[in-house]
């Protein structure tokens, strides 16, 4: 089933894209991440121009996050106040990211920056997650001593302290705001929701209860991806709704099953699996960067807007 994509100006196998959307949606529902870090490289791999993959992915993530957050919302696993504070940073990060994206596109370095940020962020965070979760798996339940709720670091000395009742936190607003900002940058430049970064950051830096993390990060991602979709569509014309439709039909269905499946996984098991996936994608992209390319040359239509 070939489907012509009007903005990407190419035709793709519709069934393949639907399945890709479904599988990635399942994983995203299961781990509470957007799944963009898998989908964007996959789209580029099947020949979608990186700019369109990133722009369209943002659109798809809006739908995936909405459907994902609903399930968490019903279980009251969303800290709206904290999510909104993150969003303030997220909006700024997204706007800056779309701006940087445009500049890099003109310089012809956007592919490189996408690949490098994937390798650095995914590799770094995935590696840490892997070490941590494998350690937790080995220690098993015996070492399940609760972490101290109050581990005071310099992070707690930051100004603008706010109380977040739902998460039982009293922390500086700069922390969730800053995390949101980095997440927003990632939405715009890498075409990912940034869940894989937000989730550990919220657990380790904020000390949020794990149950609230997935729902709250999804809640925040809805808005950053919506802003990114709007800016990419208006400024760069890189949102292909046909492609987004295919991805989100597969994605929202997969996400529902994924959310249900997450109930059967223990926290550290889920984290280990997610970490493996993340590290795998990072390694794959790192290999591409280091290996001599098959074709040294690339052609593009110059962007001069």
């Amino acid at each position: 089933m070939q489907v012509y994509l009007p903005i990407a100006e190419m035709s793709v196998n519709g069934l393949l894209v639907l399945i890709m959307g479904g599988v990635v949606g399942f994983l995203s529902g299961m781990f509470g991440v957007g799944g963009g870090f898998l989908m964007t490289p996959l789209l580029i791999f099947i020949g979608v121009p990186p700019a369109i993959a990133v722009g369209t992915q943002a659109n798809q993530l809006v739908a995936a996050s909405v459907s994902g957050v609903l399930a968490h919302w019903r279980r009251k696993n969303v800290d709206v106040k904290l999510g909104l504070v993150m969003l303030v940073g997220g909006a700024a990060g997204t706007a800056l990211g779309v701006f940087i994206f445009g500049i890099l596109q003109r310089l012809g370095q956007i592919d490189l920056v996408i690949a490098l940020s994937y390798v650095l962020f995914l590799g770094g965070i995935g590696g840490l997650m892997l070490i941590e979760s494998v350690g937790a798996l080995i220690r098993g339940r015996k070492a399940g001593v609760r972490r101290k709720l109050h581990k005071h670091t310099w992070l707690h000395g930051l100004p603008f302290k706010m109380r977040f009742h739902r998460s039982r936190l009293y922390i500086s607003a700069l922390l969730p705001g800053g995390i949101g900002f980095v997440g927003g940058l990632m939405v715009a430049i890498m075409g990912i929701g940034g869940g894989f970064l937000l989730v550990p950051a919220m657990i380790y830096l904020l000390g949020m209860p794990t149950a609230l993390v997935a729902g709250t990060s999804l809640f925040q991602i809805i808005f950053t991806t919506a802003i990114a979709t709007f800016l990419q569509a208006a400024a760069n014309h890189t949102v292909d709704v046909m492609l987004a439709l295919l991805l989100l039909v597969g994605g929202v269905i997969g996400a529902q099953f994924g959310t249900k499946a997450s109930g059967y996984l223990r926290g550290e098991q889920a984290r280990a699996l997610l970490a493996l996936l993340v590290v795998g994608v990072a390694l794959r992209l790192a290999v591409d960067l280091v290996m001599p390319p098959v074709n040294l040359y690339s052609i593009t239509v110059p962007v001069d807007r």
């Binding site: 070939q2 809006v62 919506a226 709007f230 800016l231 929202v252």
Partner: protein, 263 residues
């Protein structure tokens, strides 16, 4: 727009003007002689390639007749556009786009078909004048004189190679077939990623090592129906397009969430 003289649209116009003048001059003398300008006639099976949602590429048949023996070359050119060619170099262990060269006017699509290899029969000058064959394509760099000739050649070859890989430049598809002495036909294949715009299809009649007649037929490639509407919407009203895309995504996500709640 193409600034150079002798590119197909202008050439066609010039040819037409010359033809009219000739006919006007000769009209009084002999009717039979007006056939001189028509030693080759050709037409396409279709003058519009419509890209709809299910578009997977298409073929257009060009058929025609000559007034006697000769070789026929059919050249299809898509609308020209600027193209940036970049070469990767290894910097600090990773491959990074380093050198680049911008070409001013590269046809977005190019295909040539002949009834037999012409390189041996026709001189390079003639082939170059009519841009028959990939090696005779005119690809001027955007900033002439800045890059060394060797570099220009290297990037030019890379441009052609990349376009070939995309299926947008080709010489292999649809060789010209003669049916008897005078009738000929060829199939031109357009892949699914064919760029939209105004194309020209030119058939050349070659005799004694020179082009003796040519005919250019326009061909439009455009999106139609749903694809066209989406494209227009996205480009003309990008703000509303962005907002609609978001509303659409939120609705889809919500709907899926609501449906699956009951399951």
């Amino acid at each position: 727009m193409r600034g150079l003289a002798g590119r197909p649209p202008r050439r066609a116009a010039a040819l037409l003007a010359a033809g009219c003048l000739l006919i006007a001059v000769l009209a009084g003398t002999a009717f039979a002689r007006s056939a001189w300008a028509q030693s080759l006639v050709a037409d396409l099976s279709n003058h519009l390639i419509a890209i709809n949602t299910g578009f997977v590429g298409t073929e257009v048949v060009l058929f025609g007749a000559t007034d006697g023996p000769g070789d026929v070359a059919v050249v299809v050119q898509g609308p020209p556009s600027e193209v940036m060619v970049r070469r990767k170099s290894r910097i600090a262990g990773i491959w990074i786009n380093a050198a680049s060269l911008e070409f001013q006017q590269a046809p977005s699509f190019y295909s040539v078909a002949t009834n037999r290899p012409l390189d041996q029969i026709v001189g390079d000058a003639v082939l170059a004048r009519h841009e028959i064959g990939l090696s005779h394509l005119r690809l001027p760099p955007a900033a002439p004189g800045r890059a060394a000739p060797d570099t220009v050649r290297e990037f030019r070859e890379a441009l052609i190679r990349n376009k070939q890989e995309l299926g947008l430049y080709n010489t292999t598809h649809g060789q010209v077939a003669f049916l008897g002495e005078r009738l000929f036909r060829t199939n031109v294949y357009f892949p699914a990623n064919v760029p939209t715009g105004a194309y020209t299809v030119t058939a050349y009649l070659i005799r004694d090592g020179d082009v003796v007649s040519a005919q250019t037929t326009p061909l439009a490639v455009s999106k139609v129906g749903f694809s066209a509407e989406i494209f227009e919407f996205a480009v003309r009203q990008s703000t509303f397009y962005g907002i609609s895309a978001i509303i659409f995504a939120v609705a889809a996500g919500w709907l899926a969430g609501a449906i699956f709640r009951k399951v």
